[in-house]
Point group: C2
Chain length 435, copies 2
């Protein structure tokens, strides 16, 4: 059983099981002989290597931020349950290593050495799947730095000013079990099983150091790489994003610069919101009303009064009666950077679909019954949430016509550190600065 000490072939999901299954076979009647399994796996691994696109994990920035959105996500917030700083660091090391491995299609763990516990190094449910452009993006919540007034890990002095306590917005109906958390992990991939798999391995590796606080699955309709996907309201979502292909725009709006602490330079702030949409009601509205609410044409995505999705938004235009073509309280007007002192954020949202649940409405005719628990996992990245999401949403939460169809039930703000070079670990510069 010496093959259990061999590293798995690169870019093959299958190597690890050769090792663990080989270990196991000695004690289990009827398993394949280890040599046979290992041989089969080496050849299987070789044929899979390099055929499928991989998003690099190591680098100046974390992946999954300006990465073109993969169609599936599994977002998880974790609470740390240890009091030991060293355990947090060790877990982040393990998470980093596992994330890098999984992003290339390898199993989360190195195969165990002979004599080690024989539990799986990986749940194995993605064995036949390509890396699926998996990205894992990590973030730190305010409570990592200080929680209930306690500086748990000696990090309090290093909490960035931009990592504010999120204000409570008009209309917020936040559920504590869908809000906040010490750490965030967003997995995005071409396959829902690959995204879930990745977080599942990290949660297992977290052991008794961190526990899941809340999770949310999400998806984007596969409209094709060049098209702006439609959300469940039927409108194109993301048209007005700053251009990810323009490094200058990203430096201006997304990446933290010299204004931030060293460990956040090249990082970004993530805001996630779970926005339930009353689809039953929305579907009863006329297209004209929906378009007035959005401020865009439903079909083309063009701003009202324009013909092209990417046509400029003209907030000054009026119709023959002198009324604004793009209504005062429309979503697109209130969200636009010219309405918000130039504030721009990089939206990277997903639809979510959690089935149905019982809802007692709070307005006549007081319908009570099952309604869709579906809507938007709103995700955005920005250089500073105070001049990004918070500035924009402060007004939208009060005036956006769309609010009558949307209820925010969950929320999180996380500082996503800069990317790292191979051999480092997520947040290393923070923990080393705070030594």
């Amino acid at each position: 059983m010496t093959q259990s000490k061999e590293p798995a072939p690169r870019a093959s999901r299958r190597g690890f099981l050769a090792a663990t299954a080989g270990l196991a076979a000695g004690s289990a009647a009827g398993c394949l002989a280890p040599a046979t399994a290992a041989e089969a796996l080496v050849s299987a691994g070789a044929t899979r290597a390099g055929q499928h696109p991989i998003v690099p994990f190591w680098g100046k920035h974390q992946s999954g931020i300006v990465t073109p959105a993969q169609p599936h996500t599994y977002f998880a917030s974790f609470d740390l349950v240890t009091t030991q700083r060293d355990e947090v660091v060790e877990m982040l090391r393990q998470w980093t290593s596992a994330a890098a491995r999984m992003s290339t299609g390898q199993p989360a763990d190195q195969p165990r050495a002979e004599g080690a516990p024989s539990t799986s190094a990986d749940s194995g449910d993605v064995l036949d799947l390509p890396p699926s452009r998996l990205t894992l993006t990590f973030g730190f919540g305010a409570q990592l730095f200080i929680k209930d007034g306690k500086d748990r890990y000696g990090l309090a002095a290093h909490r960035p000013e931009a990592l504010v306590d999120m204000p409570i917005f008009t209309g917020d109906q936040l559920v504590p079990t869908r809000t906040g958390g010490d750490l965030s992990v967003q997995a995005c991939a071409d396959d829902p099983q690959v995204a879930f798999h990745a977080v599942r391995q990290l949660a297992r590796l977290a052991g008794d150091v961190a526990q899941i606080r809340w999770v949310q699955t999400g998806f984007i309709a596969a409209a094709g790489a060049s098209a702006t996907p439609r959300n469940l309201m039927g409108f194109k979502d993301g048209t007005a994003n700053p251009p990810v292909a323009d490094p200058g725009a990203m430096d201006q709006f997304v990446w933290v610069g010299s204004e931030g602490p060293d460990w956040m330079r090249g990082g970004s702030y993530l805001v996630a919101r779970r926005s339930r949409i009353a689809l039953e009601h929305w579907d009863r509205m006329s297209v004209a009303f929906q378009e007035q609410t959005f401020g865009r044409s439903k079909l083309s995505g063009a701003p009202l009064g324009k013909k092209s999705e990417f046509g400029p938004l003209d907030l000054e235009a009026t119709d023959h009666e002198g009324n604004p073509v793009v209504p005062e309280n429309s979503h697109v007007r209130l969200g636009h950077h010219t309405s918000n002192e130039g504030a721009r954020i990089l939206r990277r949202s997903y639809s979510y679909n959690d089935g149905v649940n019982f809802t007692a409405e709070r307005w006549p005719p007081w319908r009570q019954g099952l309604e869709y628990d579906a809507g938007l996992l709103f995700v955005c990245y920005q250089r500073d949430p105070r001049s990004g999401f918070i500035r924009i949403f402060e007004r939208m939460s009060k005036f956006d016509m769309m609010n009558q169809f949307v209820t925010n039930t969950g929320s999180g703000l996380f500082a996503c550190p800069a990317g790292i070079d191979k051999g480092g670990f997520i947040g290393q510069r923070l923990f080393e600065a705070a030594l």
Copy 2:
């Protein structure tokens, strides 16, 4: 605005919005002029037609049964809330028409005539998406025929013998709000938004005639058309299915024959089970134990003692100590047709992932906390559930080693009528026989 009376182009998702948006534009400042929108749509529709695979809706059998499984599903159970038989028939007519249209990428409704209410004919969130091999499969629950002792729609005498009340199996933890229902609709598609969209339109068309009782989303990892997908336990699922390409096998095991009532000949019985899997515990088991539980190799999917996934299952084989190579209580042994008087079913299951929820375990060390609410939406089709799922699961529910990781929380048995020719409606032969 005469264009609102024109039918939408075939195989184009976009025609309908031209009509409804055109209607709406007259009353909304800033919308595109109707003629412009309509022109854009006709050309957009023409370029989309015929490029993408479509699963035919009309035919001898309903689609979505022997159709190779698409990667996403949205399963819905409906309760009828009308007392009027005519309203049920009218809704089934509308559903049939909408299903046929949506399966080719058209909107659910015909565009409304001028003067009709201006609500959307369709929510429009799949406007840019291909038909995505959408199938919609309809079924009738026992309560359609008799509920609380009442013959609501004059159908009681036509309830098939095979549409039994489901027995309560050992270990069942069925939740009423995830169990049963008068009607089932299973949407399957290449895109999760297309599957949800389809049921959402049907639910809207149901108006006050039927309401959603429970729903479940599901997915299959995209392992490629030729590979057996792995479930969340990491094992290949579906290897031992009867061959869908063999019409004789399908007639023997899946399609109702002359033993059934006329309206069920060419139909099939659907069993759906929501099987939550304790993934946290499963992941702590050794691969060897997992393989003993399944009775198959995790990597290859081969029966224990064999080398090939599709190798014959040898239930007689013993090891050198005389113990069975495929354990007595393994999943594959208990499920195999040779253990069940030849019973075979066509499994067409999906994984589901509903995030996490609070769980208080019932065994030491009495862990209480968040656990994955994820597992299997087990779906199978068969000619007669009494000699199919019920016979097989009666024993499995008692003896299968896998039961310690699986809790069945929802269940449904539905009679899926034969397919129909264009112009008919789902269940037409039942309702006409019962006139």
